[in-house]
């Protein structure tokens, strides 16, 4: 239920703010102003754009495969939004209780590949088809480092339930947690950022970097936006779409960004725990944790990762296809496998 009541409105609101933020940050990076005309500092620019988009005529080219063409955006957005079902919201409010929660999320999200293929094929357009093929090749190959880096966290946490995974990373944990994975530095009572996964198992920093890069690739963002590259493919698989249907693709791209950010916060950065530790008798962690605080911290962390993604988009050039594949297969995947091995050794011999 919380998925529909909380995450759907948040996602819709986030897209409006996110597009504005993206254009403003792009302006900042490129030393210009960004949108300035509509409202003070251009703040309602996205609303105006949204209204324009909704009023557009629903164009359906004659040569498209009608059924596949119409179903594609719905499948893409549906697949990505289903992933939100297992996300925990805050202390005591978990998502859908599925035994294989994280695994379910990854597998369901990978179904958006089907929707992209539908769009590319159904459009009956060579650019759309090439875009879809590139996109699917990219998503399928980057799923491997993504899955392996997530598996590192799962090995540390020993669970697939996201709510439990978050609970372990702070003062409410029932298991013992150690700073930097060194036995003796027990930090259950201290909490704060010190007990986040990334600090209680320092190797996970590398896992996070792999996760973040593959997350960028999964959501087809620059520097991995080959599927959409405007200059070569005129937009890729959504070339033939317009109006609301195009909006759905846009929405799923932002939805994927947000999902990756939420996952990064939950897996590596303590989810809904506050970053402040207890310092002696000054119990900052107790003060800043709670159901309401939890929502603020989780969403705040997710927004920060969105900011990082947008910065990456406007500072790096696009990769070539061969560079894209060699990055995934020759660097990220072997490093992720090595990490998995090291963390396994650490878990078996150092901690227990």
């Amino acid at each position: 239920m919380i998925t529909f009541l909380v995450f759907l409105p948040f996602l819709l609101g986030f897209v409006v703010v996110g597009v504005y933020g993206e254009r403003k940050i792009a302006g900042f990076v490129q030393n210009r102003l960004g949108p300035m005309e509509v409202g003070p500092k251009g703040i309602v620019q996205t609303v105006a754009d949204l209204l324009k988009m909704l009023q557009k005529e629903d164009l359906r080219p004659k040569a498209v495969d009608q059924l596949l063409f119409l179903a594609a955006p719905i499948i893409v957005f549906g697949a990505i939004f289903t992933g939100y079902a297992v996300l925990p919201l805050t202390e005591g409010v978990s998502g859908s209780v599925i035994d294989a929660g994280l695994f379910f999320l990854l597998s369901v999200v990978s179904l958006d590949v089907l929707g992209i293929l539908l769009a590319g094929w159904g459009s009956n357009n060579k650019y759309a088809l090439f875009g879809a093929m590139r996109s699917v090749a990219q998503i399928v190959s980057y799923e491997i480092p993504l899955g392996l880096s997530v598996l590192c966290v799962v090995m540390v946490a020993q669970t697939l339930d996201l709510q439990e995974m978050v609970t372990q990373q702070g003062i409410y944990a029932t298991e013992e947690s150690f700073l930097f994975g060194i036995k003796g530095l027990k930090i259950n009572a201290t909490g704060g950022f010190l007990s986040w996964n990334i600090f209680s198992m320092p190797l996970l920093i590398i896992a996070f970097i792999i996760f973040f890069i593959s997350g960028l690739a999964e959501s087809n963002r620059v520097p991995f936006d080959l599927p959409e590259s405007e200059s070569e493919l005129i937009g890729g698989y959504h070339t033939e779409y317009s109006g609301f249907r195009w909006g759905l693709f846009m929405l799923s791209e932002y939805g994927m960004m947000l999902l990756v950010s939420f996952l990064a916060a939950i897996l590596f950065f303590g989810g809904w725990y506050s970053p402040f530790p207890n310092i002696g008798s000054f119990e900052l962690a107790e003060m800043t944790n709670g159901p309401v605080w939890g929502v603020i911290w989780l969403f705040g962390k997710a927004t920060f990762f969105i900011f990082l993604q947008i910065m990456a988009r406007w500072t790096y050039p696009r990769l070539r296809v061969d560079q894209l594949m060699s990055l995934s297969w020759k660097y990220l995947t072997p490093v992720a496998i090595l990490l998995l091995f090291l963390i396994g050794i650490w878990k078996i011999w150092v901690i227990s």
């Binding site: 495969d65 035994d99 695994f103 379910f104």
Partner: protein, 164 residues
């Protein structure tokens, strides 16, 4: 009661796309119909309290094999709107073999006597499956790993440039 309604809904989700798959001449649509029916099977697994199975079904079949299939179709030849035409050969042996297979399947399904709609007894399915794989079913597990490794090496060999 709800379980029954859900079962029939998902059973329809499996059967109807498969019938469409047999009728249609559009090979891409057939592949997507196949994907829908695979998702329906995943739903049936959930009704049988086999969540892990369901997730694996989605990941491997709907997310992996169907995508591979569609890739194969796209990379080979665009058949266009005329569709694929295949001739009918060996009609009588084919019908006989499929009937025999149908009888075999129904027979064994009724023999197994599947437990239906039982309460969930274990909450830690993933852990149990993992422990079982590395203890009781270790040989099967290792054999599958070996097979997959061979497939990987084979794929790398096929993709190798053959100019030397």
């Amino acid at each position: 009661m709800t379980l029954n309604i859900l079962f029939f809904a998902f059973a329809a989700m499996i059967v109807v796309p498969l019938i469409y798959l047999l009728i249609t001449k559009n090979i891409i649509r057939a592949a997507f119909a196949f994907a829908i029916s695979l998702l329906g099977m995943a739903a049936i697994y959930v009704l049988l309290n086999a969540e892990f199975m369901a997730v694996v079904q989605i990941l491997i079949y709907a997310g992996g094999i169907v995508v591979l299939l569609i890739f194969g179709v796209m990379l080979t030849k665009r058949s266009g709107d005329e569709g694929v035409f295949t001739a009918h050969h060996q009609v009588i042996p084919g019908v006989l073999v499929s009937l025999a297979f149908f009888v075999l399947l129904t027979q064994s399904i009724f023999d197994v006597n599947l437990a239906w709609g039982e309460e969930v007894t274990s909450t830690d399915q993933v852990k149990q499956i993992g422990v079982l794989y590395l203890t009781d079913h270790l040989i099967a597990f290792e054999l599958i790993a070996f097979l997959l490794l061979m497939a990987l090496v084979g794929a790398a060999f096929l993709a190798k440039k053959s100019d030397q």
